[in-house]
């Protein structure tokens, strides 16, 4: 891990309220693994603001990396106002990302809304490793189909669901998975999105005996494994999202426990935006 001042060389509002930033860092671009995150000091006039964690969305090999975020609070609001050639104070790459064995042949990547953030980096990695994979993407509606084109270009066959039925399957990706999993038969499922969606996906994965890894979002303070603030409840005790995760194998996660539901940051009003800031369809 490094603390750097990264130059912003690209900024795009990919849809209203959702931004993509390209940040220069040869080191982070070289060392980052899919599923890892960076901890960003948001440029605000507030005297006090914790860093915000963002999944590494994509890397420009040997040169830069990208983050994708939605404006959901003070931190992301400040971040949405940066200009090209501003610098951001960043610590990264952090956390434990997605794991894959050398002999893996087929994977299913499931994203809900902003959950595409860590999965696009993974998709590009899988292409490089010549792993066959199927993106399955859930959105609220047709006009909010974040990164659909990118996944369609990279994946073998892309599945989509919209809550209002304006594109693809009408309903959630969790439903879509239930309908299609017996046809796709992936060796492994990678997913990121709202906790309700992840829980349903893990149940389906269990039923079909498919390994499943998910990227969880929690509030973080230090981001480097010191404060023990981002605890997730697992079968092996409390694990820290910032160090043991944010990617966890679903066989370790205790979904049922009320503790766990409370442990995830969904909808918490304290305005510490969470990892990859999933905010939409499940």
């Amino acid at each position: 891990m490094l603390q750097i001042k990264a130059d912003i060389i690209g900024k795009e509002e990919v849809m209203p309220g959702v931004f993509n930033l390209i940040l220069v860092s040869p080191e982070i671009s070289r060392n980052a693994r899919p599923g890892q995150f960076v901890h960003v000091l948001c440029p605000t006039d507030d005297g006090f603001m914790l860093r915000r964690p963002f999944s590494i969305h994509r890397v420009v090999p040997g040169r830069a990396f990208e983050i994708l975020f939605q404006v959901v609070g003070k931190g992301t609001e400040a971040l949405s106002r940066v200009k090209i050639h501003d610098t951001l104070d960043i610590i990264g790459p952090l956390g434990t990302g997605f794991k894959y064995s050398e002999d893996i042949r087929s994977a299913l990547l499931i994203a809900g809304g902003l959950g595409v953030a860590p999965l696009l980096f993974l998709a590009e990695e899988l292409v490089e490793r010549q792993v066959l994979f199927y993106p399955m993407l859930g959105y609220k509606t047709k006009t909010q189909m974040l990164r659909y084109i990118d996944f369609k270009r990279l994946g073998k066959k892309t599945y989509a669901a919209t809550e209002d039925g304006s594109f693809g399957h009408e309903g959630t990706v969790a439903d879509l998975l239930n309908r299609t999993v017996h046809n796709i038969r992936p060796e492994i499922i990678y997913a990121c999105g709202p906790v309700g969606m992840l829980k349903k996906i893990s149940e389906t994965a269990d039923e079909f005996g498919i390994e499943c890894q998910v990227s969880l979002e929690t509030k973080m303070a230090c981001g480097i494994g010191v404060c023990l603030g981002c605890a997730c409840v697992t079968r092996r005790g409390y694990k820290m999202a910032c160090k043991d995760g944010p990617v966890f194998n679903t066989r370790d996660i205790l979904w049922g426990a009320e503790d766990y539901e409370k442990g995830l940051a969904n909808g918490c009003g304290c305005d510490n935006e969470a990892l990859s800031e999933t905010d939409s369809a499940g």
């Binding site: 507030d46 605890a231 409370k262 918490c268 009003g269 304290c270």
Partner: protein, 304 residues
């Protein structure tokens, strides 16, 4: 012109008066990748207990105006694990090591002190009698002058090492507690730990912390900490470590002026890992600018 930042905390010799607050720096392992630990005045380990503790149910964190609430619950692997895995790492640095301990009972504090007293390389023991997030022990000892005196005496009886007692601000009369622990044999007082606070989600009507309440830290508590350091400095003669919302050199200077001999940085480490090293450089610059040559020239020099 060079300035002297070195201080002596009742036998703990520090090359400068800046250290991390317990629990915000782990054993230094992670931060050692980001800063030069050898520049610090001391290392202060996260609280260790006799037995491992799981910590509290999440969520454990909540950012609030000018600070954050936490309810970690002293998650740690216990003293044996600490001595085997974390302490050897800390000893690799040329910096005094302060071990922070907490117990559920007087006997647990006593036993921890007995064990640490035998360990080579421990420069001092800090008694955490001020954690607001555990059910037994912790703050219960720090909120009563009688119990604070008893736990300090029990610790004092079991160690020759410099003994630091860390006080809670969640009391009406901090001077009374400070006098009690001093009379029981404390060598140094550190203050403040976090203030008990609460935050509620207005959508779900639920508390934002799994433990319902938690400890408030950060700039929000700094004026309270400065006031308490000043009050305690009037009441006792032993050195004080000032803690509470320190983010930069001028924050630190306020604590020195109030009467602290050293300062500890907590929550600010999470925002900027270089906070402590920046403060050390900033203190030098401040003293030079003001025409001082030694940090001792500003300690307790508030004009009231």
């Amino acid at each position: 012109m060079s300035v002297n930042l070195s201080v002596n905390l009742s036998g703990i010799k520090m090359k400068n008066p800046v250290m991390p607050a317990s629990g915000t720096f782990g054993a230094g392992r992670e931060f050692s990748e980001l800063i030069d630990i050898n520049r610090l005045g001391a290392l202060v380990a996260k609280t260790v207990t006799l037995k491992p503790r799981d910590g509290n149910i999440p969520p454990r964190l909540c950012e609030v105006s000018s600070g954050m609430l936490n309810s970690i619950g002293l998650q740690n692997e216990g003293i044996d694990h600490f001595l085997k895995h974390d302490f050897p790492f800390m000893r690799e640095f040329d910096v005094p090591i302060i071990v922070n301990i907490a117990g559920n009972s007087l006997e647990e504090y006593a036993q921890l002190c007995r064990e640490l007293d035998r360990v080579e390389g421990v420069s001092g023991i800090e008694l955490n009698i001020s954690c607001p997030n555990i059910k037994a022990g912790g703050i219960a000892f720090g909120a009563s002058s009688k119990l604070a005196e008893q736990v300090t005496a029990a610790a004092r009886y079991n160690t020759q090492l410099p003994l630091i007692v860390k006080l809670t601000p969640n009391v009406y009369n901090i001077s009374k507690i400070a006098r009690a622990v001093t009379s029981a044999g404390a060598d140094v007082i550190s203050l403040i730990n976090t203030m008990v606070g609460m935050s509620i989600d207005t959508n779900t009507f639920k508390p934002n912390l799994g433990n319902i309440t938690g400890g408030l830290s950060g700039p929000a508590i700094k004026p309270i900490a400065v006031r308490m350091v000043w009050e305690v400095a009037q009441s006792v003669k032993i050195p004080i470590i000032g803690i509470g919302g320190i983010s930069n050199a001028l924050d630190a200077v306020e604590f020195f002026l109030a009467g602290a001999t050293a300062i500890a940085v907590g929550t600010a480490n999470f925002i900027n890992p270089t906070t402590m090293t920046d403060i050390i450089s900033g203190l030098e610059a401040y003293l030079v600018e003001k025409g001082f040559t030694d940090i001792s020239q500003i300690i307790g020099k508030v004009k009231t």
